[in-house]
Symmetry: none
Subunit: 206 residues, 4 copies
DNA sequence: GATGAATGAGGTTTCATTCAT
DNA sequence: AATGAATGAAACCTCATTCAT
């Protein structure tokens, strides 16, 4: 019984936190970190500003929590996409597909994530959390490993070093996402992952 | 005579403006738009703050002018790289080379440019100037045209639509630049443009 | 029976109140009124903040209650020291002794008391309670009366008016206490009350 | 000419600073540090709040500057009173007189000073500036030295150790000032310094 | 009766911008 | 024409107090 009550409180807290994060995400993604005030976030989330500060020590803390939590979800999905017994080609296809799906469902976060991972420390004074940077790096290594194993088992030619290929694939996907985010009609994200992957799969020169 | 005097004044003004832009560029690139004050820029440029406002209507105006002017220089260089009678392969090599060179010589601006063109409207309230966006788009079309003509004259296979290839190439170059900017020692930008271009030139699959 | 139950409740309440006062005293004395939050007091006293407000209408009320209650204990002790049949000299010695003892045992309250009775209304908006001021004044009159009766019965010379002597003695004791509070090792409070009283007892000039 | 202009600016700045300090002094002395807002000080001094912050880094800085500057004036006057060739008795008289005069002319600062030197660190988090504490201590030593030399040359009896006498005299003067500050009519500060000094000069016992 | 989450007024501080000199 | 002192709106954040559970 006490357990249940506690659990209700906990769930309530969790829900509130989620609403705050959601409001913050929506606003940050629309206007950028420095053009959003805590007052604004509180109002959007329909809480008093003091309540916001009960959940997050300060604005930067809120921002970091937001980026970290969302990134985590992305990371988990990406890792899942390239894990498992599938062959290298299928793994890459999965990766492209999951990127597309995650982006479709998390549009507001994409800008934030791209801005963070590319545009870098232009928002926070202390720069992006080292934790996130490490996670991104670690994932890139895993992506590179797919190319590497593909080369070892003869599926792939050694057209470039695996890490460079990972970086390249990642950046190309990002570029297509960005195009799509900016004008979804003119630049729909291709349904077939091979539209993107063929750039890497097929040779360009005769 | 009046003409000469005016001209001298003009030149003087131009010099002052350049110094202001330089100071702003250095500071913005280091700390980000919102973490730099007009006071700071004025002090770095060794002008009074009032003088700064004689040249630029407000902080956003200064920022936009800075981004526009610098971008212009980049654009001119990029256009030059892909103009002329060279064949498509050589043009792409030129493009990669010029990107590398411009970045080496304009390190402080690169972060700003990447943050602006990717991370986007995270600094300014009104977002990046439509003008710049158009110029970037126009250049992308030109880049795409290289791929297109290469396909028409049989130098390139039709592995993807030309615009996508342009976007892809551009983003891959950016990714390598970013790697290099962040850790120049671990990720030097390749001297030979083909290190990057081979990703596109050679087929990956057997 | 009901009576007994109520009495138990009453005792419980009294105990809780004491714990709150104790926590508040400890914190106020250490950090000063304005640098202590009600939250902090509640946590230190191990009560919910709402419970704190059941006992005291507001922060100022808590502070005043604290000062009043503690002062009361001091006053009672001081009054006892100078009451009774002892001669004037012994009464003054008793007074000095009891001041020393009370201070030793109530170190945290001393700062508060000295700050309040000297520094005055620097904490509260409405100033210290008139009640306390009156009590202090009344006690001063009693102290003065000792000097007065001593003069009347020939034990004391009329070197100054009795009230001034009372003020003087009180302030000198306070000064020694303050010295001792700030650096107990360098300025121990003299065991023998005459070390202080001799300033008054003996003449300075030849 | 340039010199004159600069000097005018400097004088203007000095005047402004004085006005700010005066407003702050008046308000702090009346209400206490924590019950005065920077807004209030700015309004009283008839400046914009931003201007206040041009002169003082923050509230604490303003407070410390205020206390230090005023204390300096007091210290200089006190030192002057006990310097010179006068005999010990006359020096003590001078000291009492100068305390009276300074207090009369600087009423608002007295409360602040007494609160600071007694009530102690109840206002600032960091406590009173160590500098001021040192100065007060140093002055006490000088006061003690008067008693010491008076004992050596036979003017004074050795009724207590010199430092204790210094502390005692100082605190007694403070006590009379406090009485006078609180109710000037009922407790006028005695014109004749010997009214106070006789407590020390004459013996109390028969 | 006890609790402590929620509130929001109010404090400190910054900084883009103006304008008198 | 150049200056930089003055401005004050608006940001971040705290904490005394309330009230639904």
């Amino acid at each position: 019984m006490t357990d249940k009550k506690l659990s209700r409180r906990e769930r309530e807290k969790c829900r509130q936190r989620k609403e705050m994060i959601a409001a913050a995400l929506s606003l940050f993604s629309e206007k950028g970190y420095h053009n959003v005030s805590m007052q604004e976030i509180a109002e959007t989330a329909e809480f008093a500003i003091g309540t916001l500060y009960k959940f997050f020590q300060n604005k930067e803390d809120l921002y970091k929590a937001l980026v970290m939590e969302q990134s985590e979800r992305f990371e988990v999905a990406f890792e899942a996409a390239i894990a498992g017994p599938a062959d290298e080609i299928e793994k890459l296809r999965n990766f492209v597909r999951i990127r597309r799906d995650m982006c479709r469902d998390n549009l507001p976060f994409i800008r934030l994530f791209l801005a963070e991972s590319k545009g870098a420390s232009f928002n926070l004074k202390a720069g992006l959390d080292a934790d996130l940077r490490k996670k991104i790096d670690a994932f890139m290594e895993k992506l590179a490993h797919i190319f590497e194993s593909g080369m070892e088992n003869g599926r792939f030619q050694k057209i470039a070093d695996p890490y460079s290929l990972a970086i390249a694939l990642d950046s190309v996907i990002d570029a297509f996402i960005l195009l799509w985010v900016e004008s979804p009609e003119r630049h729909p994200f291709p349904e077939d992952p091979d539209v993107i992957l063929n750039i890497f799969f097929k040779g360009l020169l005769n």
